[in-house]
């Protein structure tokens, strides 16, 4: 509950400051004539699937074998690992290493087209799992087209999301599975938790959509901040970069481009660890909700009301769709008089009372609507998975 409120406050505070990096190709096509036109011209040829005699599955069957990608650690030390001031020799070393790992990184970076929109993505397994931003993949089960640097195309379907409550914020992690059979070019998933401020990194992506002549665009920068739900770098991103990869200097993906704000060094990426942490859920097309307090674990009970303390008592400001509270019929404006025989005076106290229960516990909640008092029997759901 509390985190949900915080998000709403955050929204007010940051509204208009951050810009998501998704591009609608309708608009882009009209403005720059770049992407939409190219595709219509037949400039991009379809990648042929190897004849297998089987139709590509609409939804990949992943429940049988779930192999969580291992962490590809940074083992090589070099000037790119330095976190302080650099010398000219350092820059030369950085350049050499950057050019050594670039070809593989480029091959695995794709333009992602879903509906009328265009973002970026990166392939992280031979069988075609693609990391992207949640605001690019939008929801599970959508048809996606991936376009490679050389213009070849592959079909895919969107999988689960790892996002903040209500779809806002959080890691903004999304995934796609290529549904065509094939051995796809891929890069390994690195380790974002151990990234230090000042480590060098580089970004690839398709800003403003796919452009064959231009190819994927590269940017260089350093890690400015490393937080559990977001990485900040000075790799300057643009619209259309969303979902594109941020690499360490061994060519491992460490982040996925998510959003920017006006200053050129405000570029935010979903940390790759977020994908690994929720790998199973995401490939099973679940929507995982990020909760900074860690209360989103499957065993944390969830009522689903946002409340405020008033002179009349604890009043319901909003009810989370699909939550236990919603199912029980609690409505906006209701006063919460009792929760399990205890009186919650403020949102914090209610939060404590809910937290001390277990998922699946049935509690009696007494609410007052107008002049009517009702006692409702509510079975607590779980936070995060709605």
């Amino acid at each position: 509950m509390r985190s949900w409120i915080r998000v709403s406050f955050g929204l007010l505070k940051f509204q208009g400051l951050l810009t998501i990096l998704f591009v609608y190709s309708v608009g882009v096509g009209a403005t720059t004539g770049s992407f939409a036109d190219e595709v219509k011209k037949g400039d991009v040829s379809e990648l042929k699937a190897k004849p297998t005699g089987k139709k590509p599955e609409a939804k990949p069957n992943v429940r049988n074998v779930v192999k969580i990608p291992t962490i590809s650690k940074r083992v090589k030390k070099g000037p790119w690992s330095k976190t302080g001031a650099v010398t000219l020799t350092d820059l030369r070393g950085i350049q050499r290493q950057m050019q050594a790992v670039l070809p593989k990184a480029r091959k695995a970076t794709v333009s992602v087209q879903i509906g009328g929109g265009s973002g970026s993505g990166v392939i992280v397994s031979k069988d075609g799992y693609v990391l992207t931003a949640a605001h690019v993949s939008r929801r599970p089960g959508l048809a996606a087209t991936l376009v490679f640097e050389d213009g070849r195309k592959a079909r895919g379907v969107t999988l689960g999301l790892f996002v903040g409550p209500g779809g806002r914020g959080g890691p903004d992690a999304g995934m796609i599975k290529i549904t065509q059979k094939g051995d796809w070019p891929y890069v390994n998933m690195g380790d974002s938790s151990t990234l230090k401020q000042g480590e060098w990194c580089f970004a690839l992506g398709y800003p403003a959509g796919y452009d064959k002549e231009r190819g994927p665009v590269m940017r260089i920068g350093r890690i400015i901040k490393n937080q559990p739900d977001t990485l900040m770098t000075d790799c300057t991103l643009l619209g259309g970069d969303s979902g594109g990869p941020l690499f360490d200097f061994e060519g491992n993906v460490i982040g996925i481009h998510s959003r920017i704000a006006r200053p050129t060094d405000w570029n935010f990426h979903a940390p790759v660890d977020a994908f690994r942490d929720k790998w199973v859920e995401m490939i099973e097309s679940e929507r995982v909700v990020y909760d900074p307090d860690g209360v989103a674990s499957p065993n944390t009970p969830f009522l689903g009301v946002q409340t405020a303390e008033t002179t009349k008592g604890l009043v319901v400001d909003a009810v989370v769709k699909g939550s236990s509270a919603a199912k029980a019929g609690i409505k906006k404006g209701d006063l919460i008089l009792m929760f399990d025989k205890k009186k919650p005076r403020n949102p914090g106290r209610l939060y404590e009372l809910v937290k001390n229960k277990k998922v699946g516990d049935a509690v009696i909640v007494t609410v007052k609507r107008g002049k009517v008092e009702m006692s409702l029997r509510i079975k607590l759901g779980r936070r995060g998975l709605r």
């Binding site: 505070k13 720059t32 950057m98 670039l102 806002r168 590269m218 959003r259 900074p292």
Partner: protein, 357 residues
């Protein structure tokens, strides 16, 4: 022109943005740090001071180009006896061109010639023994090559990398400055509103007017109208047939840059400061992520050896800039020295129109 579509599209984006915008660093984490020291970020001192030996030599070959006492661009010295290359379109309309050397010595400059395709101008000043840049003519310098843009000011330099394939850059279309109406009109496309500071407001277009022809082509469909205007760059004249009530008017509009007319509506491109007026229509260019200032165009882009890999020609947005590659610059210099003036088709037309006018 395309404002209407833009508005709808940004409206959509806006809604989406509201939905996806993040809270920023969560205070609950107790991890609200200031982040990497500014001096250590890519264009902080802790990084760029390493370029001191690289740019020491080049800086003396950079000049400030002034037009009627206004700083227009940088220039790069290409011959000991006073030839300087710079960005041509920045000189437009200026009567007196002067250059200033690194030691603040000023010279009057004459325009030897212009190549409007590459947007380069060759200047000559009466001077001797000027420090000339060293060129790197390797046409295959690809992504991940460090490049730096030195300025005239002491040790000022910006760093970045070559970011994409060397290629032709398309023309960036200009706008009339109208928002198209959604209601249908058999005769053409109705105007919903007119942007101030645009060609449309200048020639007196009004909401309710209907545009039936552009350059003689019938524009009944919005898409046709949009296409037939935006295929021309800012500065280009288009002929319009405008219907107002029973009146039929033939008007000419000089297109303007969409970012000038509609402001920072291009949210997804987030301008971050001024952009170059001419940002497209180059036959060949290198794309890099050095955050140059538009008035630094005409100056050199160097690699870590201090050799010039290109001449900066446009700041496009927060993360994209273009430079004309060294091998092409040298070809242009050769042509212009031989007295050849290269004009694009539209420049020819414009100069004709100007003479007529």
């Amino acid at each position: 022109m395309k404002m209407n579509r833009t508005i709808r599209w940004f409206g959509f984006l806006g809604v989406l943005a509201f939905g996806v915008i993040l809270t920023g660093p969560s205070e609950a984490h107790g991890q609200r740090t200031r982040g990497l020291d500014r001096g250590l970020r890519i264009n902080g001192e802790g990084v760029t001071k390493s370029l001191k030996p690289v740019i020491a030599g080049v800086r003396r070959s950079i000049v400030r180009v002034l037009g009627d006492d206004e700083h227009l661009a940088l220039g790069t010295i290409v011959s000991r006896d006073g030839l300087i290359i710079t960005k041509a379109s920045e000189l437009k309309g200026k009567k007196v061109i002067q250059i200033e050397l690194f030691n603040n010595k000023a010279f009057d400059a004459k325009v030897v010639g212009k190549d409007d395709k590459f947007d380069l101008a060759l200047l000559r000043v009466k001077a001797k023994a000027l420090p000339v840049v060293r060129w790197d003519q390797n046409a295959n310098r690809g992504r991940g090559t460090w490049v730096a843009a030195p300025y005239l000011e002491d040790e000022a330099v910006k760093l970045g990398i070559i970011a994409a394939n060397r290629r032709k850059i398309k023309v960036v279309g200009g706008v009339i400055g109208i928002v198209l109406g959604l209601n249908r009109d058999k005769r053409g496309v109705p105007i919903a509103s007119v942007a101030p500071n645009s060609a449309a407001s200048e020639i007196g277009l009004r909401p309710g007017d209907v545009i039936s022809h552009v350059n003689g082509n019938v524009t009944k469909a919005r898409e046709v109208l949009i296409k037939s205007v935006t295929k021309f760059p800012p500065g280009e004249r288009v002929k319009l047939v405008v219907l107002r009530g029973m009146k039929r008017m033939e008007l000419e509009a000089v297109l303007r840059d969409r970012s000038v007319v509609f402001g920072d509506k291009d949210r997804f491109r987030v301008a971050n400061g001024k952009l170059s007026r001419r940002r497209g229509g180059f036959p060949v260019a290198i794309q890099h992520d050095v955050p140059i200032r538009p008035e630094a165009c005409g100056g050199p882009l160097v690699d870590l050896t201090g050799r010039v890999v290109g001449i900066n020609i446009a700041k496009v947005n927060r993360s994209e800039s273009y430079a004309i590659p060294a091998d092409e610059v040298l070809k242009v210099i050769k042509k212009l020295k031989a007295g050849k003036v290269v004009k694009t088709g539209r420049e020819k037309e414009n100069s004709k129109a100007a003479r007529k006018g």
